[in-house]
């Protein structure tokens, strides 16, 4: 009976009648209107703007592709790109292995209080980046900051004299940003890995145990293939998020790009040009440089994912 109802539901009911022909557009219209006005139009306009020089939002002048030409020869843009790339690599190479390791530990069978631990480790990602930046700005201060004081007293028993004057915010800016982002996002990424691990088929694990595979071999032959799609997703999310780094350095360094532009990132440079200098045109060109980098990363991820599917088939 239910089978009949289902087919009729798909075939006639949802299609027939005048009101249900109009209905989907009525349901879609709030989204479409907002989307057209505040996403599509600005997207098109960003192409136009990137070929203009502006003095505030009102005064514009057409300059063709010279914004892009200037960008390629702009040393500050390259500093921003380099810093952002270092931060992104740091996120990928340090953060994601820790996140996966924690997820593996968290999903060991027989662990009690698992959901509470997951909740605790996830909680920093609820804190807005602005607020975390406020906190870490003080944590990384010389002398009084928690980071130096903590390292100083923790390492003392091992005979290491960690200096209270270690300049997190002066010389080691990228390390400070990466450490802060570890606190903010390890639990977030762990949660995705952990959800993926829950979906690893129990029968495959048991079969490999019966076959006498050790835990390390089991990890590479059963677990890794099973969590690969989610891992790809997490990597892509991390790259996209890291490349848009802005609030953390901007707040930590009091609305500047830090000493010797050590905290300059792509979006921070975009912000400075667009809203401090007032050149929305150059800012849009920087935006397109960012978009192209991210699209290339997304395309690369799609290609490798598809390659794997093809080789698996």
């Amino acid at each position: 009976m239910s089978a009949i109802a289902t087919t009729s539901g798909v075939k006639s009911g949802v299609n027939g009648g005048l009101s249900s022909r109009v209905a989907p557009w009525v349901f879609l219209s709030p989204f479409l209107v907002c989307f057209a006005l505040f996403t599509l139009y600005p997207l098109v306009q960003s192409v136009v703007l990137s070929m203009q020089t502006t003095f505030g939002p009102g005064a514009t002048k057409f300059v063709g592709i010279s914004n892009y030409r200037a960008l390629i020869h702009d040393p500050l843009f390259w500093i921003a790109l380099r810093n952002t790339a270092i931060y992104t690599l740091g996120s990928l190479l340090i953060q994601l292995p820790i996140a996966l390791g924690l997820a593996l530990v968290l999903e060991t069978p027989g662990l009690r209080g698992r959901s509470w631990i997951r909740l605790l480790l996830f909680s920093p990602s609820m804190v807005g980046v602005v607020f975390a930046a406020m906190m870490f700005a003080l944590i990384f201060e010389k002398q009084t900051g928690l980071a130096n004081q903590g390292l100083h007293s923790l390492l003392a028993p091992f005979g290491v004299d960690w200096s209270l004057d270690f300049g997190w915010l002066q010389q080691h800016v990228m390390s400070a940003l990466i450490v802060a982002s570890l606190w903010m996002f390890v639990g977030f990424n762990m949660t995705f890995f952990s959800a993926a691990l829950q979906n690893v088929r129990k029968d495959l694990i048991e079969a490999s145990v019966v076959d006498g595979a050790g835990p390390i071999r089991r990890f590479f032959t059963v677990t890794v293939p099973a969590i690969r799609p989610v891992a790809g997703f997490v990597v892509l999310m991390s790259v996209i998020g890291s490349f848009q780094l802005f609030e953390l350095p901007f707040i930590m360094f009091n609305n500047t790009s830090g000493p010797d532009n050590r905290a300059m990132t792509i979006v921070l440079y975009l912000f400075q040009n667009g809203f401090e200098t007032g050149d929305l045109g150059y800012a849009s060109a920087i935006g397109w440089a960012l978009a192209i980098i991210l699209l290339a990363c997304a395309g690369f991820q799609r290609l490798t994912a598809r390659g794997e599917e093809a080789s698996a088939a």
Partner: protein, 284 residues
């Protein structure tokens, strides 16, 4: 190593790792709370709680930073602004996305393929790319320095339509919709009484995502708003760092006030939120 020893080692190892991760997670929170109850003098004197020998000197803690936030500064105003902006955006954006997702999931119409492709492509647009043109647009339609200028652009996140489309495809059976129509329910009533209750977890998740998104948003209010009485907490807190640079207790108290409401909300919604957040990635 014997099997027993291996087991004990594994037990200790997993608990040890999780304990360290837990401590590292909690300590900054704890430091933040302790610092917000300190005078500047005390801030320099102690790392966590003020100590008097081996006794915790509770009497050296002070609520002065919080008092100043709400008397000397207009923090209650920023709190209200944040709550207003985040709730209005959350509710309307969730409704818009649920409606859009429903249309793409359960109706067959000309243009459905195009709309779905549009939504999928839009997920790839990085937000910073459209900041400058959106600012120019808001200037032209005279919405700079207004709440509408913040809320309107946040009402149609494409990934929300995508999430609801997925949730409705997998969670709403066609025969239920058919039954509702046979009973004479109109399209809108079917949506409200049949579809929405079935995707309740996704509604919770997405309300939380959009609420958080607005609450924690800094760049948009920083760019759009000029009048300090309109500032949400994110901008007001950042201003503390400029205007009260040497007032550590005040800065940390402002940060706590900004984090606390979100944490409470998270604890209430946590179960649906975390599973809803990961469901898209794991199923996809």
């Amino acid at each position: 190593m014997s099997l027993r020893a291996t087991r004990i080692f594994a037990w200790l190892w997993t608990r040890g790792v999780l304990l360290i991760a837990g401590i590292v997670t909690v300590i900054p929170f704890f430091w933040l709370i302790a610092s917000s109850f300190k005078s500047n003098e005390e801030f320099f004197r102690s790392t966590f709680l003020p100590m008097d020998g081996r006794r915790i000197a509770w009497e050296r803690l002070t609520t002065e930073p919080f008092r100043r936030l709400f008397s000397e500064l207009d923090f209650s105003n920023s709190l209200v602004n944040s709550i207003f902006l985040s709730s209005v955006t959350g509710v309307i954006a969730t409704l818009c996305c649920a409606m859009g997702g429903y249309a793409l999931a359960k109706f067959r119409f000309k243009g459905r393929g195009f709309c779905t492709a549009l939504v999928l492509a839009a997920v790839l647009i990085p937000a910073p790319l459209i900041i400058a043109p959106t600012y120019q647009l808001l200037y032209r339609i005279d919405l700079l320095d207004s709440f509408a200028g913040l809320i309107l652009p946040a009402l149609a996140p494409a990934f929300g339509v995508f999430l609801f489309r997925q949730a409705i495809i997998s969670g709403v059976p066609n025969d239920l919709l058919e039954a509702a129509r046979i009973d004479g329910a109109g399209e809108w009533r079917t949506f409200v009484t049949v579809v929405l209750p079935l995707v309740r977890p996704m509604i919770g998740t997405f309300l939380m995502i959009t609420f958080l998104g607005m609450w924690n948003n800094f760049i948009a209010p920083q760019v759009v708003l000029q009048d300090p009485s309109k500032f949400p907490l994110s901008v007001a807190v950042a201003e503390l760092r400029r205007g009260y640079y040497n007032d550590y207790g005040l800065q940390m108290a402002g940060t706590i006030i900004s984090i606390l409401p979100v944490m409470v909300l998270f604890l209430i919604m946590q179960k649906d939120f975390v599973s809803g957040l990961t469901s898209g990635a794991v199923k996809a």
